[in-house]
Symmetry: D2
Subunit: 92 residues, 4 copies
């Protein structure tokens, strides 16, 4: 099932500046091969719902493996059966 | 990897009252076998991150299979490596 | 206009444990005098939309005044004109 | 206090296509005079926290006044005291 998504990742306890971890999270999402686009509060994605969720899981696993102790992520998922969901269709 | 989560599901275009779909979403999350608890804006869960994400995917698939045309879900995920995350520990 | 709300506050850079700040945020919301209830990922509230938004603003102001350097909050607002929105009506 | 924000508005029960209401919500946010930018899952804003919250309230009031029966909004707010928060600083 195709979906669009919006993913924001916040490392907690990694200091006031979280740029490094947020960039890394975006990079891991990008490595999914799915279309991604950055905005000030997250990364927009589109693709198979299962692939998007896998990418979210990899963000948590990768950041923890690289030393981030605590992570909160905020994920918006959007699916529909009347037509193919796409990020482009959500812009106006 | 263990996680805590908060999941809110909103059917779009299913009418002003969305109780039936929201109850069904909660039921699908419950069928995961993971501990769940309901609050006014969603369902709290804890368990393996992969299992939580699978349950979220099943909510979308189940509701669409049962006729909901459009679904937005809002998922908060929380993981940490310094101790086992739990819903109980997030209450005070 | 009456609303129901869900408010989660995350201090960033305040260390891995954020219990003190999260408790304080809940307390400031409670001081609004509006009905509040705690769940593992936030505080549910109901009341006048303007009063809820004021309470959210006071959370940011109070925590900063007390030393928290960076705050992210996640606010869900729900309003409807067909009947009085209430937290109780959102439980089933 | 300056803030950055991300605001997504979902009309419930307004049909499967919500483009008209979502565009109108963006327009109301824009009428605040604050810098706004659109992304696939919302509108980014920056400005005084009180002004942003006022704009959110006006979105609910305006859409209801124009006939939308039920509205859910999802608001992310970010404030910090170590430097001026800006949308530009959140891109990399």
């Amino acid at each position: 099932m195709k979906a669009t998504a919006d993913i924001q990742v916040i490392p907690i306890g990694a200091g006031v500046s979280v740029r490094t971890e947020v960039q890394r999270a975006h990079q891991v999402l990008e490595e999914s091969g799915l279309p991604v686009s950055l905005h000030p509060n997250g990364t927009s994605m589109e693709g198979e719902l299962a692939d998007i969720l896998d990418a979210v899981r990899r963000v948590h696993e990768t950041l923890h493996a690289e030393g981030t102790v605590r992570i909160a992520s905020f994920v918006k998922l959007s699916t529909r059966t009347d037509k193919e969901p796409s990020l482009a269709a959500k812009m106006f």
